[in-house]
């Protein structure tokens, strides 16, 4: 079924990461507080980076490496925006009145 040991190991790893991402979806749905959900969403973004890297090894192509960078940047900016919004109620501060 698999051509080499590398393919077998990559498929096992992809399966394990899929299970891990499903568990994180459980935490996103159930999580008692909003920071729990944001933290689980951040971990889902990190798992997406790992899935993209494994897929680009499996397909033997380097076309997905920009996707890794983009998902990383977008996940980080999303987490920072969510945490600033939770803490202060606004994301970009205008401190012109003091």
């Amino acid at each position: 079924m698999f051509e080499s040991t590398l393919d077998l190991l990559l498929n096992i790893s992809l399966f394990i990461i899929s299970i891990a991402t499903l568990g994180l979806v459980y935490r996103v749905i159930k999580g008692p507080s909003v920071p729990d959900r944001v933290m689980a969403l951040d971990s889902i973004g990190i798992n997406l980076i790992a899935i993209t890297a494994i897929t680009s090894i499996m397909l033997r192509t380097d076309a997905f490496l920009e996707v890794i960078l983009l998902i990383g940047v977008i996940a980080f900016v999303g987490t920072v925006a969510f945490s600033k919004f939770l803490q202060k109620g606004e994301i970009i501060e205008y401190d012109r009145d003091n």
């Binding site: 790893s13 971990s43 890297a53 380097d62 990383g72 202060k88």
Partner: protein, 130 residues
Amino acid sequence: MTETINTFIGVVVLLGSLLSLVTTIGLIRLPDVYTRSHAASKSATLGVLLILVAALLYFWFADNYFSARLVLGIVFVFITAPVAGHLISRAAYYTDVPLWEKTVQDDLKTRERPKTKKEVENRQKAHSEA
């Protein structure tokens, strides 16, 4: 030789995915948001770093192509994932998410904390007066 290197790369990828599984187990099993941030920031970062290093090694040995974009991604994830974990647990503490009931010590408790809602009200008052 190539088969040995490929198997080594596969084992590194498997280690990284097992660390991602550890992240999920921590996020599901641990009791409150602060201990969960401990699991989410450390092991998720290490797991994705192992997988990205394995991809870098694979393209280096198989295609003889050292990907600078992948190095950039590794450095970026290594810098930003702990920063994101720190920011989200800080936001959790300032929005009064309760600690676990068996917590024995809270070092930030005695200090004067900025009350976020009061700050927002003061700011709105200043806006309406102006």
